[in-house]
């Protein structure tokens, strides 16, 4: 089975860096990075990833706007997992569920167990 290709979209450089490291080292996956929604759309256009990890709140094009843009393009079926610092608020959780994403991972998260959480959400074999 080929290595999973995951696109990580987050405006925080440290978060991008730690996610890339743990998904590559612990998960054994290929990781590409985008610092904003526009960059994410471009990267998806270049090559369709197996999954997208998308920050909810980013300046400019935020997570939901990016998601809408992706869903409106040719890559409508790429599973998207949202990263959200607001997941602890139940109302927000329910709103996020309605966005048609595969899952939501709250911030802060444990970097080391992140690949397992992603695999669990997407049904990928560990």
């Amino acid at each position: 089975m080929s290595r999973k290709d995951v696109l990580v979209v987050d405006d925080d450089a440290s978060i991008r860096e730690v996610i890339q490291m743990t998904l590559e080292v612990v998960g054994g996956w290929t990781v590409r990075l985008a610092a904003n929604g526009m960059e994410a759309v471009e990267k998806v256009r270049e090559r369709r990833p197996d999954a997208i990890l998308l920050d909810l709140m980013m300046p400019g094009m935020d997570g939901p706007s990016t998601l809408a843009r992706l869903r409106g393009g040719s890559d409508q079926n790429v599973p998207v997992i949202l990263l959200s610092a607001k997941i602890q608020q139940r109302r927000d959780d329910q709103q996020l569920t309605g966005l048609g994403v595969a899952g939501v991972i709250g911030k802060p998260f444990d970097p080391i167990t992140l690949p397992d959480r992603i695999s669990g959400i997407l049904g990928w074999a560990p």
């Binding site: 405006d11 925080d12 450089a13 440290s14 978060i15 860096e17 730690v18 490291m21 743990t22 080292v25 612990v26 998960g27 054994g28 709140m57 300046p59 599973p79 997992i81 949202l82 990263l83 610092a85 997941i87 602890q88 959780d93 996020l96 569920t97 966005l99 048609g100 994403v101 595969a102 899952g103 939501v104 991972i105 709250g106 911030k107 802060p108 998260f109 444990d110 970097p111 080391i112 167990t113 690949p115 397992d116 959480r117 992603i118 669990g120 959400i121 997407l122 049904g123 560990p126």
Partner: protein, 137 residues
């Protein structure tokens, strides 16, 4: 926060922690942990810078000179700090940053701005301390 489902069946899943917390190869986890520590050091510096920005916004707010747009910018900085700090072992700082984010949205009157200023000082203090027991342990 727990998993809604284990597979991608179209519903959102909040992806709960794996039962053993470290289910992949231990050596890979160990290698990752040391690299996480390096990244965490840089993240801590960045978060201290963010806390400095928040202190400046709080001063402007206390003086009654902050605009709605600036409040929004400050709340966004606090939000980013909240998301980052706990990931790198500073859960208490995340909790305080969430309160700071809320207060920048609502603060009105001298007492509220004073509370916000106290929270920002608390945030700086917590970020200067060693990380708590956390994902990095």
């Amino acid at each position: 926060m727990g998993a809604v489902s284990d597979k991608n069946d179209g519903r959102a899943d909040t992806g709960g922690e794996p039962p053993d917390g470290r289910s992949r190869q231990p050596e890979a986890s160990e290698a990752a942990l040391s690299r996480v520590a390096d990244i965490a050091d840089r993240a801590r510096e960045r978060n201290l810078d963010r806390a400095g920005e928040l202190a400046a916004w709080a001063t402007i707010g206390r003086e009654g000179r902050i605009s709605a747009e600036q409040r929004g910018e400050a709340a966004e900085v606090a939000h980013q700090l909240a998301g980052s700090a706990g990931t790198f072992g500073y859960q208490a700082a995340t909790d305080v940053a969430r309160e700071v984010e809320r207060l920048f949205g609502e603060a009105d009157g001298a007492e509220a701005w004073s509370r916000l200023t106290d929270c920002v000082h608390d945030l700086v203090r917590r970020l200067r301390e060693p990380p708590e027991l956390s994902a990095l342990d």
